[in-house]
């Protein structure tokens, strides 16, 4: 009599046991349902590779009827959302620099006159092209606009002014990334993504591991203070974070030839805030997770929106308002803008300040939750 190689009842015993264990681990169960739902929401509703309603600043040198037509056409187009009108060039430049405006459209002083004379006035469109994906579709729409925009304003004898290549010469000046090289945008962005992934997972695991292996009880029985444990656990990983930053910068410079216009010391200083914010998230997760698997799942839960809703993979402005709001709560969103701002635009402290505050606020909140949760686990 030989034993059968395979029996259903043994297989069923294993299957049944796995289901029971799955049911017991609530966090894993929630994640198994939650992560697909989250991906569905983000890919289905939030992500849009044809961003519209991009913030646009107008610099008006001319107030004539043709200008009004042009502005009206821009307004009614889906792509441009005029947020600011100014006559000052430095004002407009600043909006572009800090990232409040994606485009600045300059209408020259003699616009109407030149148009009537058939001289094809030049309208300069300055674009923040650091993310080519964000500006591409909008700029393409301009050319389509150019040919038809004044058809109603130039009737009868003026028809001749509808020149072959349009009555207006739209010139596009792509700032910060004139050759539209995707890597210039992706590689600096990668810094935020890599740091988010490793920092959150590493710290979440480091503390959960102590609890899972029982070493935490021992540690708590010694005179060591919770704050000492937390900071002591964070510091080595801050060093790891800086090594990652340096590796990415070296690769960006020598492999991808990403321009580095701004100050690297400033970037390193700001990176501290970002690394600390991610480590604080990791610590908070570690106080919530019962085991290392749960810690990794929570880190993944945080990582997913950090990659998809931050503007790393898809243009931030292409997303609906709710997704932008979610994205704005994530430290990676702000850090991406800072890194791209410093490297590609040469931004200084004044220009990145609007992104620093949310980062700092996030750090404080995450740290407070982490410390509070950690203290509670003592009793």
């Amino acid at each position: 009599m030989s034993l059968p190689r395979f029996t259903l009842h043994r297989l069923w015993a294993i299957v049944l046991k796995e289901f029971i264990q799955m049911k017991r681990d609530r966090v894993t169960f929630v994640m198994m349902v939650g992560i697909p739902l989250m991906q569905l929401m983000m890919f289905g509703f939030a992500i849009n590779s044809d961003p519209r309603h991009l913030p646009t600043a107008l610099r008006l040198g001319d107030q004539g009827p043709f200008t009004r037509t042009l502005v009206q056409a821009l307004r009614t187009s889906d792509y441009f959302s005029i947020i600011h009108e100014t006559s000052s060039e430095s004002d407009a430049q600043r909006l572009l620099q800090i990232g409040d405006a994606q485009f600045v459209i300059n209408i020259p002083e003699d616009f109407s006159r030149k148009l009537l004379r058939g001289e094809r006035p030049t309208v300069l469109i300055e674009a923040d092209a650091s993310d080519p994906a964000a500006t591409g579709p909008a700029l393409a729409s301009i050319n389509a606009l150019a040919n038809t925009i004044f058809n109603r304003d130039l009737p009868g004898p003026l028809t001749r002014l509808r020149a072959k290549n349009g009555p207006v010469d739209f010139r596009i000046h792509a700032h910060y990334n004139p050759e539209n090289i995707t890597q210039y945008n992706v590689v600096p962005g990668l810094m935020g993504v890599v740091l988010t992934m490793t920092m959150v997972i590493i710290t979440a695991l480091a503390i959960t591991r102590e609890r899972e292996r029982g070493t935490m009880e021992n540690l708590l029985a010694t005179p060591v203070r919770p704050f000492e444990v937390m900071v002591g656990k964070i510091l080595p990983y801050i060093a790891v974070g800086y090594i990652q930053v340096t590796l990415i910068l070296i690769a960006a410079r020598f492999i991808f030839h990403v321009p580095m216009v701004g100050s690297l010391p400033l970037l390193y200083a700001v990176a501290f805030l970002f690394i600390a914010a991610n480590l604080a998230v990791g610590i908070t997760f570690s106080t919530l997770a019962k085991n290392q698997l749960q810690a990794v799942q929570m880190a993944f839960f945080f990582f997913l929106p950090s990659i998809l809703l931050s503007g790393f993979m898809f243009p931030f402005r292409g997303m609906p308002p709710w997704a932008q709001n979610v994205g704005s709560c994530l430290p990676n969103t702000h850090f991406l803008r800072i890194v791209r701002g410093i490297l590609l635009k040469g931004n200084g402290l004044a220009e990145i300040a609007p992104e620093l505050w949310p980062l700092l606020a996030f750090l404080v909140v995450a740290m407070a939750i982490g410390v509070k949760r950690y203290r509670q686990t003592l009793d």
Binding site: T215, M216, A221, T222, P223, V224
Partner: protein, 310 residues
């Protein structure tokens, strides 16, 4: 430091801890003298570990008060932690650190003066010198226990709290461990130790028995046996299995335990037990009154407690 020199290392009254609506430790009073080895016994889940955690400052009691090494258990937890060595039930040092690295880490945490020498002394005293570079995770149960003891002694604590330190350790290693504990106690260290082994309980100066969060008895071995008022008879003869089954059905018989070819029959009421024995007497069986063992006493206490508290 003057407080530490007091006669009582542990002196607590009414210590209570609740988790949710479950009272895990219910109004326990305990005094342990300096240099004493105090055994803490009780079934699993009786509140021993929770009580120890309150003594060493890991948990705050919900009610009750008292001192540990002269420090208030409610407010001076930081001081207590500095002078207490706590050995957890589960091995709780770093398996991916070597023996020496573990000891060095703990010595740093306690800011032990002349750390390198203290680590070396500790390795030598416990016979771990030749294994000092081995990873703690690769050690067998007995060696892990030695490491844990070395680690919780490195800052020269005044009180040692040991939570089932010898679970899963072989008899020889256990005996060596207890010799070490007795030497430490002779040197003035106070030791509170939990165990499930009766032979270990008998090696303690004094004992306490805990069940359902209540302290059921305490004192020296002789005290505990005397106050239990348990009568035990030993039966030898044929067909003990049937006799045991019959005895268990009789009121007045609390415990019927088989020991090889004999049965131990115990009860709290000697008269009723005698009556039962008389009615069941069979000439083939030999009945002898014997002294109750510690285990019989504890099981009797637990059964009694079950009626009272659960």
């Amino acid at each position: 430091m003057a407080a530490i020199e007091k006669e009582l290392a542990i002196d607590v009254t009414g210590v209570t801890k609740r988790f949710g609506d479950k009272t895990v430790v219910d109004a326990i009073n305990l005094s342990v003298r300096r240099g004493e080895i105090y055994g803490f016994l009780g079934p699993n889940g009786s509140g021993k570990t929770t009580f120890i955690r309150m003594l060493c400052g890991l948990l705050t009691p919900d009610a009750g008060s008292g001192t540990c090494l002269g420090f208030d258990v409610r407010t001076q937890q930081a001081e207590i932690k500095r002078h207490v060595g706590y050995m957890t039930q589960k091995f709780s040092y770093y398996e991916d650190l070597s023996i020496r690295e573990n000891l060095d880490f703990i010595a740093r945490i306690y800011a032990v003066p002349d750390r390198a020498a203290a680590v070396q002394r500790s390795l030598e005293r416990l016979g771990l010198t030749h294994r000092s570079h081995q990873l703690a995770g690769q050690l067998s149960g007995g060696w892990k226990q030695r490491l844990a003891l070395a680690a919780c002694l490195i800052h020269e604590p005044k009180l040692l709290l040991l939570d089932e330190p010898t679970a899963g350790v072989d008899p020889k290693a256990r005996r060596e461990f207890w010799d070490e504990i007795h030497q430490l106690a002779a040197g003035g260290l106070t030791v509170l130790i939990t165990t499930h082994y009766m032979d270990e309980a008998e090696r303690c100066h004094r004992l306490a028995y805990l069940a359902y969060g209540h302290l059921l008895t305490r004192g020296t071995l002789a005290d505990v046996l005397a106050t239990a008022k348990l009568t035990t008879w030993r039966v030898t003869g044929p067909d003990l299995l049937n006799l045991a089954a019959t005895l268990r059905r009789q009121s007045g018989v609390e415990q019927v335990v088989a020991f090889g070819n004999t049965l131990h029959v115990s009860g709290r009421d000697p008269a009723r037990l005698s009556t039962v024995i008389t009615t069941l007497r069979d000439p083939r069986h030999d009945w002898q009154p014997i002294a109750s063992g510690l285990e019989d006493v504890f099981i009797s206490l637990m059964d009694e407690a079950k009626d009272n508290f659960s």
